[in-house]
Protein backbone atom coordinates (compact mmCIF):
# COMPACT_ATOMS: atom_id res chain seq x y z
CA UNK A 1 0.00 0.00 0.00
CA UNK A 2 2.90 2.30 0.87
CA UNK A 3 4.33 1.79 -2.60
CA UNK A 4 1.03 2.57 -4.22
CA UNK A 5 0.97 5.81 -2.24
CA UNK A 6 4.50 6.54 -3.48
CA UNK A 7 3.40 5.95 -7.06
CA UNK A 8 0.36 8.15 -6.57
CA UNK A 9 2.56 10.93 -5.18
CA UNK A 10 4.97 10.62 -8.11
CA UNK A 11 2.12 10.75 -10.61
CA UNK A 12 0.74 13.78 -8.83
CA UNK A 13 4.12 15.46 -9.22
CA UNK A 14 4.05 14.75 -12.94
CA UNK A 15 0.56 16.18 -13.20
CA UNK A 16 1.38 19.26 -11.15
CA UNK A 17 2.32 21.51 -14.11
CA UNK A 18 -1.23 21.18 -15.37
CA UNK A 19 -2.47 23.02 -12.30
CA UNK A 20 -1.45 26.62 -11.73
CA UNK A 21 0.22 26.96 -8.36
CA UNK A 22 0.47 30.05 -6.21
CA UNK A 23 4.01 31.20 -5.50
CA UNK A 24 3.06 34.63 -4.20
CA UNK A 25 3.56 33.86 -0.49
CA UNK A 26 6.63 35.74 0.73
CA UNK A 27 7.14 37.63 -2.52
CA UNK A 28 8.34 41.22 -2.32
CA UNK A 29 8.05 41.78 -6.06
CA UNK A 30 7.06 45.22 -7.25
CA UNK A 31 4.10 45.51 -9.54
CA UNK A 32 4.55 46.61 -13.16
CA UNK A 33 0.79 47.02 -13.45
CA UNK A 34 0.62 44.33 -16.09
CA UNK A 35 -2.74 42.75 -16.80
CA UNK A 36 -1.65 39.17 -16.12
CA UNK A 37 1.18 39.60 -13.62
CA UNK A 38 1.35 37.49 -10.48
CA UNK A 39 4.02 38.00 -7.78
CA UNK A 40 6.07 34.84 -7.43
CA UNK A 41 9.08 33.77 -5.41
CA UNK A 42 10.44 30.25 -5.62
CA UNK A 43 13.53 28.06 -5.54
CA UNK A 44 14.88 26.85 -8.87
CA UNK A 45 17.90 25.58 -10.70
CA UNK A 46 19.26 27.92 -13.36
CA UNK A 47 19.48 25.82 -16.51
CA UNK A 48 20.55 26.29 -20.10
CA UNK A 49 17.28 26.17 -22.04
CA UNK A 50 18.69 24.80 -25.28
CA UNK A 51 20.34 21.98 -23.32
CA UNK A 52 17.39 21.30 -21.06
CA UNK A 53 14.75 21.35 -23.77
CA UNK A 54 16.53 20.08 -26.87
CA UNK A 55 19.54 18.23 -25.46
CA UNK A 56 21.97 20.62 -27.17
CA UNK A 57 24.43 20.82 -24.30
CA UNK A 58 27.90 21.13 -25.87
CA UNK A 59 28.01 24.86 -25.22
CA UNK A 60 25.70 25.05 -22.23
CA UNK A 61 25.83 28.05 -19.94
CA UNK A 62 27.85 30.03 -22.49
CA UNK A 63 27.22 33.75 -22.68
CA UNK A 64 24.40 34.61 -25.05
CA UNK A 65 22.37 31.44 -24.57
CA UNK A 66 18.96 31.77 -22.96
CA UNK A 67 18.66 30.49 -19.41
CA UNK A 68 15.64 29.10 -17.61
CA UNK A 69 14.48 28.41 -14.08
CA UNK A 70 13.68 24.79 -13.32
CA UNK A 71 11.35 25.26 -10.37
CA UNK A 72 11.97 22.88 -7.47
CA UNK A 73 8.39 22.66 -6.26
CA UNK A 74 6.92 21.21 -9.44
CA UNK A 75 9.76 20.69 -11.94
CA UNK A 76 8.24 23.29 -14.29
CA UNK A 77 10.60 25.13 -16.61
CA UNK A 78 9.96 28.85 -16.16
CA UNK A 79 11.24 31.16 -18.91
CA UNK A 80 12.60 34.48 -17.61
CA UNK A 81 11.95 36.86 -20.49
CA UNK A 82 12.83 40.00 -18.59
CA UNK A 83 15.08 41.39 -15.89
CA UNK A 84 14.13 44.22 -13.55
CA UNK A 85 15.31 47.07 -15.77
CA UNK A 86 12.84 49.09 -17.80
CA UNK A 87 14.87 49.52 -20.97
CA UNK A 88 14.24 46.45 -23.14
CA UNK A 89 16.58 44.05 -21.30
CA UNK A 90 16.36 40.28 -21.03
CA UNK A 91 17.39 38.20 -18.03
CA UNK A 92 20.19 35.98 -19.38
CA UNK A 93 23.03 38.30 -18.29
CA UNK A 94 21.69 38.44 -14.74
CA UNK A 95 21.19 34.67 -14.53
CA UNK A 96 24.48 33.64 -16.16
CA UNK A 97 26.59 33.74 -12.95
CA UNK A 98 24.16 31.25 -11.44
CA UNK A 99 23.92 28.78 -14.34
CA UNK A 100 23.90 25.24 -12.94
CA UNK A 101 23.22 26.48 -9.42
CA UNK A 102 20.20 26.47 -7.15
CA UNK A 103 18.78 29.94 -6.56
CA UNK A 104 15.86 31.74 -5.02
CA UNK A 105 14.18 34.30 -7.25
CA UNK A 106 11.52 36.91 -6.77
CA UNK A 107 9.57 38.62 -9.51
CA UNK A 108 6.43 38.52 -11.62
CA UNK A 109 4.94 35.53 -13.40
CA UNK A 110 2.87 36.16 -16.52
CA UNK A 111 -0.11 33.85 -16.82
CA UNK A 112 -2.56 35.07 -19.46
CA UNK A 113 -5.01 32.48 -20.71
CA UNK A 114 -6.12 34.79 -23.52
CA UNK A 115 -2.71 34.80 -25.21
CA UNK A 116 -1.44 31.42 -26.46
CA UNK A 117 1.92 30.66 -24.86
CA UNK A 118 1.70 33.32 -22.16
CA UNK A 119 2.38 30.90 -19.34
CA UNK A 120 5.41 30.30 -17.15
CA UNK A 121 6.89 33.57 -18.42
CA UNK A 122 8.80 35.47 -15.76
CA UNK A 123 10.21 38.89 -14.96
CA UNK A 124 13.01 38.35 -12.45
CA UNK A 125 13.56 41.24 -10.06
CA UNK A 126 15.89 39.79 -7.43
CA UNK A 127 17.97 36.65 -7.14
CA UNK A 128 20.23 34.93 -4.65
CA UNK A 129 22.05 31.65 -4.54
CA UNK A 130 20.17 29.17 -2.37
CA UNK A 131 21.31 29.50 1.21
CA UNK A 132 22.64 33.03 0.81
CA UNK A 133 21.16 35.80 2.92
CA UNK A 134 21.41 38.73 0.55
CA UNK A 135 19.33 39.28 -2.53
CA UNK A 136 20.85 40.87 -5.62
CA UNK A 137 18.88 43.04 -8.02
CA UNK A 138 18.54 41.60 -11.52
CA UNK A 139 19.68 44.79 -13.19
CA UNK A 140 23.09 43.98 -14.62
CA UNK A 141 22.27 44.01 -18.32
CA UNK A 142 23.15 47.61 -19.11
CA UNK A 143 26.52 47.34 -17.34
CA UNK A 144 27.34 44.22 -19.34
CA UNK A 145 26.32 46.04 -22.54
CA UNK A 146 28.44 49.11 -21.67
CA UNK A 147 31.49 46.93 -21.08
CA UNK A 148 31.03 45.36 -24.52
CA UNK A 149 30.54 48.69 -26.28
CA UNK A 150 33.07 51.18 -24.96
CA UNK A 151 32.90 53.06 -28.26
CA UNK A 152 29.16 53.64 -27.86
CA UNK A 153 29.44 55.93 -24.85
CA UNK A 154 27.25 58.98 -24.95
CA UNK A 155 24.06 60.64 -23.85
CA UNK A 156 20.78 58.83 -23.80
CA UNK A 157 19.78 55.24 -23.15
CA UNK A 158 21.73 52.29 -24.54
CA UNK A 159 19.11 51.46 -27.14
CA UNK A 160 19.66 54.79 -28.88
CA UNK A 161 23.39 54.09 -29.04
CA UNK A 162 23.55 50.39 -29.87
CA UNK A 163 25.71 49.98 -32.99
CA UNK A 164 23.87 46.98 -34.41
CA UNK A 165 20.42 48.48 -33.93
CA UNK A 166 21.49 51.81 -35.36
CA UNK A 167 23.04 50.13 -38.40
CA UNK A 168 19.76 48.34 -39.17
CA UNK A 169 17.70 51.49 -38.68
CA UNK A 170 20.12 53.44 -40.88
CA UNK A 171 19.65 50.81 -43.57
CA UNK A 172 15.90 50.23 -43.48
CA UNK A 173 14.38 52.83 -41.19
CA UNK A 174 12.41 52.77 -37.95
CA UNK A 175 9.50 50.93 -39.54
CA UNK A 176 11.76 48.62 -41.52
CA UNK A 177 10.30 49.92 -44.77
CA UNK A 178 13.12 52.10 -46.06
CA UNK A 179 11.62 55.43 -45.02
CA UNK A 180 13.71 58.31 -43.70
CA UNK A 181 13.27 59.23 -40.00
CA UNK A 182 11.29 62.29 -41.03
CA UNK A 183 8.99 60.32 -43.33
CA UNK A 184 8.47 57.58 -40.75
CA UNK A 185 7.71 60.13 -38.06
CA UNK A 186 5.19 61.98 -40.21
CA UNK A 187 3.16 58.95 -41.32
CA UNK A 188 2.87 57.60 -37.79
CA UNK A 189 1.45 60.75 -36.21
Amino acid sequence: MTYLKTLAAALALVATPLVAQDFSAGSNAKSWNLYAEVPATFEAEVVDILCNVAGDCANQCAEGRQLGLLRSADNVLVYPNKNSQSSFNGAASDLLPYCGKMVDVDGLLIEDEEIPGATNIYLVQTIKEAGDADWAKANKWTKVWAAKHPDAKGKGPWFRRDPRVNAIIADSGHLGLGLSPEEAYEITR
Binding site: V14, G64, Q66, N81, F88, P116, G117, I168, Y185
Partner: protein
Protein backbone atom coordinates in the same frame (compact mmCIF):
# COMPACT_ATOMS: atom_id res chain seq x y z
CA UNK B 1 12.88 -7.10 -8.88
CA UNK B 2 9.70 -7.18 -6.84
CA UNK B 3 6.43 -5.68 -8.03
CA UNK B 4 6.64 -3.07 -5.28
CA UNK B 5 10.12 -2.01 -6.35
CA UNK B 6 9.09 -1.90 -10.00
CA UNK B 7 6.09 0.29 -9.21
CA UNK B 8 8.20 2.66 -7.11
CA UNK B 9 10.90 2.87 -9.78
CA UNK B 10 8.31 3.57 -12.48
CA UNK B 11 6.82 6.31 -10.36
CA UNK B 12 10.15 7.98 -9.75
CA UNK B 13 11.06 7.73 -13.43
CA UNK B 14 7.82 9.41 -14.38
CA UNK B 15 8.41 12.13 -11.83
CA UNK B 16 11.86 12.81 -13.24
CA UNK B 17 10.75 12.77 -16.87
CA UNK B 18 9.98 16.50 -17.31
CA UNK B 19 13.59 17.35 -16.44
CA UNK B 20 14.86 15.43 -19.43
CA UNK B 21 15.15 16.83 -22.92
CA UNK B 22 12.10 15.90 -24.95
CA UNK B 23 12.12 14.36 -28.38
CA UNK B 24 11.53 16.98 -31.01
CA UNK B 25 9.18 17.03 -33.97
CA UNK B 26 10.28 18.25 -37.39
CA UNK B 27 8.15 21.18 -38.46
CA UNK B 28 7.99 23.96 -41.01
CA UNK B 29 6.37 27.11 -39.64
CA UNK B 30 5.51 30.38 -41.33
CA UNK B 31 5.26 33.40 -39.14
CA UNK B 32 6.70 36.65 -37.87
CA UNK B 33 9.75 37.06 -35.67
CA UNK B 34 8.45 38.94 -32.64
CA UNK B 35 9.59 40.29 -29.30
CA UNK B 36 7.98 37.93 -26.81
CA UNK B 37 7.99 40.08 -23.68
CA UNK B 38 5.90 42.84 -25.19
CA UNK B 39 3.62 40.25 -26.78
CA UNK B 40 3.03 38.18 -23.65
CA UNK B 41 3.02 40.93 -21.03
CA UNK B 42 0.89 43.55 -22.75
CA UNK B 43 3.26 46.19 -21.42
CA UNK B 44 2.81 48.31 -24.56
CA UNK B 45 -0.66 47.33 -25.66
CA UNK B 46 -2.58 44.45 -27.13
CA UNK B 47 -1.03 41.68 -29.21
CA UNK B 48 -2.00 43.23 -32.55
CA UNK B 49 -0.10 46.44 -31.73
CA UNK B 50 3.20 44.90 -30.66
CA UNK B 51 4.06 43.18 -33.92
CA UNK B 52 4.74 44.30 -37.48
CA UNK B 53 6.03 47.62 -38.75
CA UNK B 54 4.45 49.54 -35.86
CA UNK B 55 6.65 47.73 -33.37
CA UNK B 56 9.73 47.19 -35.53
CA UNK B 57 12.09 49.53 -33.70
CA UNK B 58 11.04 48.15 -30.32
CA UNK B 59 11.48 44.61 -31.64
CA UNK B 60 15.05 45.54 -32.57
CA UNK B 61 15.70 46.99 -29.12
CA UNK B 62 14.27 43.96 -27.35
CA UNK B 63 16.13 41.47 -29.53
CA UNK B 64 19.41 43.33 -29.06
CA UNK B 65 18.60 43.57 -25.36
CA UNK B 66 18.47 39.81 -25.01
CA UNK B 67 14.73 39.40 -24.63
CA UNK B 68 13.74 36.08 -26.21
CA UNK B 69 12.39 36.27 -29.73
CA UNK B 70 9.55 34.11 -30.90
CA UNK B 71 8.01 33.06 -34.17
CA UNK B 72 4.34 34.04 -34.17
CA UNK B 73 2.89 31.35 -36.39
CA UNK B 74 -0.06 31.62 -38.71
CA UNK B 75 -1.85 29.36 -36.22
CA UNK B 76 -1.59 32.04 -33.52
CA UNK B 77 0.90 30.05 -31.48
CA UNK B 78 4.20 31.54 -30.34
CA UNK B 79 7.30 29.43 -30.93
CA UNK B 80 10.22 30.48 -28.71
CA UNK B 81 13.33 30.52 -30.90
CA UNK B 82 16.25 29.01 -28.99
CA UNK B 83 18.63 28.49 -31.91
CA UNK B 84 18.59 29.76 -35.46
CA UNK B 85 20.72 28.80 -38.45
CA UNK B 86 23.21 27.12 -36.14
CA UNK B 87 23.56 30.22 -33.93
CA UNK B 88 22.84 29.40 -30.29
CA UNK B 89 23.11 33.02 -29.11
CA UNK B 90 19.36 33.40 -28.68
CA UNK B 91 19.92 36.21 -26.19
CA UNK B 92 20.87 39.11 -28.48
CA UNK B 93 22.16 37.06 -31.42
CA UNK B 94 22.93 38.62 -34.79
CA UNK B 95 20.74 36.43 -37.00
CA UNK B 96 17.54 36.92 -35.04
CA UNK B 97 18.22 40.66 -34.81
CA UNK B 98 18.37 41.05 -38.58
CA UNK B 99 15.05 39.18 -38.86
CA UNK B 100 13.11 41.32 -36.37
CA UNK B 101 9.49 41.75 -37.56
CA UNK B 102 10.17 39.74 -40.73
CA UNK B 103 7.82 37.08 -41.97
CA UNK B 104 9.84 33.93 -42.45
CA UNK B 105 9.39 30.29 -43.27
CA UNK B 106 11.36 28.29 -40.71
CA UNK B 107 12.31 24.66 -40.92
CA UNK B 108 13.42 23.00 -37.72
CA UNK B 109 12.64 21.00 -34.63
CA UNK B 110 9.78 21.73 -32.24
CA UNK B 111 9.87 20.87 -28.54
CA UNK B 112 6.92 21.36 -26.19
CA UNK B 113 7.47 21.94 -22.51
CA UNK B 114 5.24 23.22 -19.71
CA UNK B 115 2.88 25.10 -21.99
CA UNK B 116 5.55 26.67 -24.18
CA UNK B 117 6.68 25.83 -27.70
CA UNK B 118 10.46 25.85 -28.22
CA UNK B 119 11.84 25.96 -31.73
CA UNK B 120 15.30 25.14 -33.03
CA UNK B 121 15.34 26.77 -36.46
CA UNK B 122 17.69 24.74 -38.58
CA UNK B 123 17.08 26.79 -41.70
CA UNK B 124 15.27 29.98 -42.63
CA UNK B 125 13.78 28.68 -45.84
CA UNK B 126 12.34 32.01 -46.90
CA UNK B 127 12.64 35.59 -45.65
CA UNK B 128 9.70 37.67 -46.88
CA UNK B 129 10.71 40.83 -45.05
CA UNK B 130 8.21 42.93 -43.12
CA UNK B 131 4.75 42.15 -44.42
CA UNK B 132 2.55 43.30 -41.52
CA UNK B 133 2.16 47.04 -42.19
CA UNK B 134 0.20 47.72 -39.03
CA UNK B 135 1.73 51.18 -38.55
CA UNK B 136 -1.20 52.24 -40.73
CA UNK B 137 -3.49 51.28 -37.82
CA UNK B 138 -1.35 51.79 -34.74
CA UNK B 139 1.25 54.38 -35.70
CA UNK B 140 4.49 53.52 -33.94
CA UNK B 141 4.56 51.52 -30.69
CA UNK B 142 5.89 52.88 -28.38
CA UNK B 143 5.35 56.42 -29.55
CA UNK B 144 8.88 57.52 -28.67
CA UNK B 145 10.47 54.88 -30.89
CA UNK B 146 10.88 57.42 -33.70
CA UNK B 147 12.53 60.60 -32.41
CA UNK B 148 10.85 63.86 -33.36
CA UNK B 149 12.80 65.49 -36.21
CA UNK B 150 14.86 68.43 -34.97
CA UNK B 151 14.00 70.93 -37.75
Amino acid sequence: MSLKTTIAAAGLALAAAPALAAEGERVQITGEIIDTWCYFSGVMGGPDAVVGSAHHTCALWCSAGGIPVGLLGEDGEVYMVIKINGEDQSASGDTQLTLASHEIVADGMLYKRDGLNYLVVEAVVEDRGITNLNHEDYGVVPGFAIPKPKN
